[in-house]
Symmetry: C2
Subunit: 311 residues, 2 copies
């Protein structure tokens, strides 16, 4: 039998990469034969963490059915966020912290979903429940994933479980000041000068089918919103181009200041009135709206959009 | 805040009733305020177990949104097997051992799904993982649910987890000979003489939308297939009537001999060729086919039908 592949969503962030590595390790300890892979290259933040903890990035794949018939999904369940040929393989395990959408199986399977800030937190608890030790460098990556997903426990998606797991993992990893490490890691992921326009708008983007509309929602973290919007005209051009090429009705870019936890939305395409309705706010002539305290796509952006587009 | 309601599928069997009772108890121990309810009256088998362990059946409800806005589902996830107004409430927890189908949520939630023979086995492990004690009479019900779903560990859906949980629960419940108890309980559920034709064909039936077809699949356990098929003409009339009233394309009744683990399928309605293709066998002039070793609707009947109807 070929190995089962374990992977997170397309355009992987630190949690998508790390959760695959951690869950693959966990399942191998239980006796499965698995390999962690990724549906894309690690981003700058993830590279910083991998380098710090001296670990290798998982092999990048685009399709999976060519090498296995069984897979384990982490950090996503919606088919359009998964491998291109996900419909040709059997999902045997899922670990996730997102809503469930269009995830249908022919057979019963293993699912552990918990409404936490980070999948690596769920996997930390799975290790604890089974009394399996986490290697120090893997614990460092899992700690990094929690810092990334919760913006150092400041995102509203953060739960007590994330805080406890973060502190536990820091100890296992031998990291004394996880806040100092976390700020350096988050900054490493916000070097926008080196990024192309497409990287900024689409590097962390996900597609959402809400009602009849196909929305693309990207997010970029920064320590200064001007680093994003000094390039606004070029970013809008790229967003329009991606809309045209991929049939997105609306492209929304969430530009998040990770130091003060505010975001600006930049909206290109149709449905602007619905977006305004979702947040109870008008878009400016510059196609932007400021949303103080909004840092979470999953918890603060997608739900109000879902209410309006599917309401 | 009103209590969260916890419930299993329509036409509840022993596991649907018991898993709701057990998961409600478990979540209350964790600090939630929940009440176990049921989407129907207990069947004769469940009544036997409730009586034996001196427990009350959960309150029966048809709708839930009139008394709560949050629910926990056990032993089902497909909306058409749930409360009539399930789309009007938020599912916060799901514990299940079925395939996932058309289960979509707006928000992240708690899911524990494991491909075991019985949901009460999963819940037993949840109690163990959290080091929470199971009261003796509740353990007796959970033991009964495992016996029911796995036909005393003989069904092909049975896993090692079910066997271990069954033995553990028997000890907690103080039942020395769980096999002797189990045979009496299963027999109590097969008193067909006292049942109406509608009870036999539809009492444990579920609806499956496979491809473009709407199938109703019922199952009846017996210790003698003649007890079922001596009434075949009347049963077929009832199945045809239920097809007409509810828009089912095909009604399949699985009559299972629990002593020798064989089943006869009785098929009324269209798609008979697809049913024959699914099992590689012709229906007799009596609209029946014998399937030796087949006792599980979920594992041995629905999957081959799904392959053909959706293939």
């Amino acid at each position: 039998m070929s190995k089962e592949l374990v992977f997170g969503h397309q355009k992987p962030d630190t949690d998508a990469i790390t959760a695959a590595m951690a869950f693959s390790y966990f399942e191998n300890e239980l006796g499965y034969e698995t390999e962690a892979v990724a549906l894309g290259e690690p981003n700058d933040e993830t590279k910083y963490a991998l380098n710090y903890f001296n670990m290798e990035a998982p092999r990048v794949v685009k399709t999976v059915a060519n090498e296995t018939d069984k897979v384990m999904l982490v950090d996503h369940n919606e088919p359009q966020q998964s491998a291109a040929d996900i419909d040709q393989v059997t999902v045997t395990h899922l670990v996730d912290h997102h809503r469930i959408a269009n995830f249908n199986t022919a057979q019963p399977l293993w699912i552990t979903a918990r409404p936490y800030g980070c999948v690596s937190t769920i996997i930390t608890e799975l290790f604890q429940e089974k009394h399996i030790e986490i290697p120090a460098n893997l614990a460092g990556m899992m700690m990094s994933a929690i810092i990334s997903d919760t913006l150092l426990l400041k995102s509203p998606t953060t739960t007590d479980h994330d805080g406890e797991a973060l502190k536990y993992l820091a100890k296992v990893a031998g990291v004394e000041d996880y806040e100092a490490y976390g700020i350096e890691m988050l900054k490493a992921g916000t070097n926008l000068a080196a990024k192309s326009d497409a990287d900024i708008v689409d590097g962390d983007a996900k597609t959402f089918e809400l009602g009849d509309a196909k929305l693309r929602i990207g997010q970029v973290n920064t320590v200064d919103l001007d680093d994003v919007f000094s390039r606004q005209a070029d970013l809008e051009k790229t967003m329009q181009q991606l809309n045209d090429e991929n049939g997105y009705d609306t492209f929304i870019l969430i530009a998040t200041n990770i130091l003060n936890s505010d975001s600006d939305l930049l909206v290109v395409g149709g449905n602007t009135e619905k977006v305004e309705q979702a947040f109870g706010k008008k878009l400016g002539d510059n196609h932007r709206m400021n949303l103080p305290g909004v840092v979470s796509r999953k918890k603060q952006v997608v739900p109000p959009l879902t209410d309006v587009f599917e309401g």
